[in-house]
């Protein structure tokens, strides 16, 4: 019996290399857990029918000596990342039968080393949500407490990893969609620098925000996946060429900036207490804590909820019932469009499309969209300026712990506020790492989150590893 709970990517790799078990046996172990737990948790929308064949390919790599760290590692993939010939539905009915015509670039890297894709995981429809409750295919439950949400939109991947239904998991972030579920499920979550990992083959939500983001049971696991996938891709015009992956950061100081002014209200008392305890731990590790101010950061979420719907309304216009996906019958072209989209999109998707159309429309464009873009630039400037004086910005990842299924569904803004600390990193493009930092009295995970300068993921991994050792 393989002890899945204690496995990390490196431990599994060592065991595979030492022939303690084969990649096929490892995959079988995870398939067994999926069979037991997935009906209740609903992390996976589909378990692939060729898992063992993939594992056999991995075993061959161990036999011929070409295996690397991710070879044979059973991995969960979010349902918005294209794997050629596989159904990829973005948690939506409008793509319920859509088959990918090509591999996402991130998938190509994983396939190339023989990672094993176990299946596609549940998500909020088109990544719109913070709790994995807007999927057209049912909710996903938090393995830590089945009456609670796993977070979102990458809740399926988080739940799979947190319940030993996978050893590695990929999600995507537009605003906190990996860090927030990491926080709720007790996992590590990394949002890379915008432009670090290719967006080619990712079903787009917000082009100026989206990034493929790995979950991990430990910091090293996110580092391994990041290193494998963080490469320039000429297929993605927002991918940053290697020569331009220079950082503005000029210091190496072990200084952590904390914007206390952002936590004056809206943060649960026990979250704040855990945050302060975490700060004490960091002090003991030799870090200096500095008060910092990010005057415009408090507008991050408002700016995000204008910019993102605007980009969404454009990106989702391609789903029109013409070339693929759900196609309704109609007397004319307009009816085909309207019925296909009206029937295929769920409530949250329709809401955000309408909101996006509104903020981009004549008479409102300047007041909303243009203003939000300017505010975003200001937020980015302030974050970058602060990161010239300190190595890190530290906040709680989420103002609350995992809430109960069904909560916050009646009040959109209450749901959106889950991402209030996530937004600055997505808006400014800087990398950010969410780390488990303890458990509440009810056994619910706490989490803290670091931001660093563009392309300084190495600093995040460094502090993350020290913090996780100290626990």
């Amino acid at each position: 019996m393989i002890d899945l709970k204690s496995l990390t990517i490196e431990k599994a790799h060592a065991s595979l290399k030492n022939k303690e078990f084969t990649a096929v046996e490892l995959a079988q172990a995870y398939l067994k857990v999926i069979e037991e737990k997935n009906p209740e948790i609903n992390a996976y929308l589909e378990v692939y029918d060729d898992v063992l064949e993939q594992a056999e390919i991995a075993d061959k790599k161990f036999a011929d000596g070409s295996a690397t760290l991710m070879t044979g590692i059973p991995t969960a993939i979010k349902d918005n990342i294209l794997i050629k010939s596989r159904i990829v539905s973005a948690g939506s009915k409008i793509l319920g039968n859509y088959r990918a015509a090509y591999d996402a670039t991130a998938i190509k890297y994983l396939k190339g080393v023989g990672a094993v894709f176990l299946g596609r995981t549940n998500m909020d429809e088109f990544a719109m949500g913070s709790s994995t409750q807007t999927s057209a295919y049912g909710v996903t439950k938090n393995p830590v407490d089945l009456s609670r949400v796993p977070g979102g939109s990458s809740g399926g991947s988080a739940a799979a990893l947190a319940s030993n239904m996978a050893l590695a998991a990929l999600g995507t972030e537009t605003c906190g969609s990996v860090r927030e579920p990491s926080a709720f499920c007790g996992l590590v979550g990394l949002k890379p620098t915008y432009g670090a990992v290719s967006r080619e083959g990712i079903i787009a939500m917000g082009n100026s925000l989206d990034q493929v983001s790995p979950f991990g049971k430990c910091v090293r696991d996110t580092e391994i996946i990041f290193n494998l996938t963080s490469k320039y891709d000429e297929e993605d015009s927002t991918s940053v060429p290697e020569s331009l992956r220079i950082t503005q950061s000029k210091i190496n100081s072990k200084k952590i900036g904390v914007p206390w002014h952002l936590f004056k209200e809206g943060v649960d008392r026990d979250v704040l207490e855990n945050f302060k305890e975490s700060i004490e731990k960091l002090k003991k590790l030799g870090y200096e804590i500095v008060d910092i101010e990010l005057p415009h950061a408090k507008y991050s979420l408002a700016a995000y909820y204008i910019i993102m719907p605007a980009e969404v309304s454009t990106n989702l216009s391609r789903f029109d019932g013409i070339r693929y996906g759900h196609s309704a019958k109609g007397v004319d072209l307009m009816e085909v469009y309207k019925k296909s989209r009206g029937e295929g999109f769920g409530r949250e998707a329709r809401r955000r499309i309408i909101l996006g159309t509104y903020v981009l429309s004549h008479g409102y464009y300047d007041a909303y969209y243009n203003k939000a873009v300017k505010i975003r630039e200001k937020i980015k400037e302030e974050v970058m300026e602060v990161l010239q004086k300190v190595d890190y910005i530290l906040t709680p990842t989420v103002p609350i712990t995992a809430f109960k299924l069904g909560e916050k569904m009646d009040d959109p803004v209450a749901m959106y506020l889950c991402d209030i600390f996530s937004a600055p990193a997505n808006l400014s493009g800087v990398p950010s790492l969410a780390l488990p930092s303890g458990l509440s009295k009810e056994g619910l995970p706490f989490s803290i989150q670091f931001m660093a300068s563009h392309f300084r993921e190495d600093l995040l991994f460094e502090v993350g590893k020290e913090f996780e050792k100290a626990k």
């Binding site: 015509a101 927002t238 013409i322 989209r341 409530r347 309408i354 909101l355 509104y358 959106y416």
Partner: protein
């Protein structure tokens, strides 16, 4: 915002909505716009960013890409002789 506005936006976005759905969106919009309109109070000048932009355009040369033409054709809701069939446009 009123129902007529929602109907106009739904038309622009090519979305067919029931009356109940329109009412729901109208009330949702109220709450969301109430939250995001705080940006109106912020005064920002244009950014003084000193970052330069990088031209990511490539030459207009044919490059091979790895994708399945068959999978694309298979998924056309309506097709004829390998062409996508659509409703009358003109």
């Amino acid at each position: 915002m009123n129902i007529k506005d929602v109907e106009n936006l739904a038309n622009l976005a090519r979305l067919e909505l029931s009356m109940e759905e329109k009412q729901q969106i109208l009330s949702d919009m109220g709450g969301i716009l109430e939250y995001v309109k705080q940006i109106a109070e912020v005064e920002v000048e244009d950014s003084k960013s000193s970052l330069s932009l990088h031209n990511a355009w490539r030459e207009d040369e044919l490059k091979t890409r790895d994708f399945s033409r068959d999978l694309i054709l298979e998924q056309f809701p309506q097709s004829q002789d390998g062409f996508l069939k659509v409703k009358k446009i003109l």
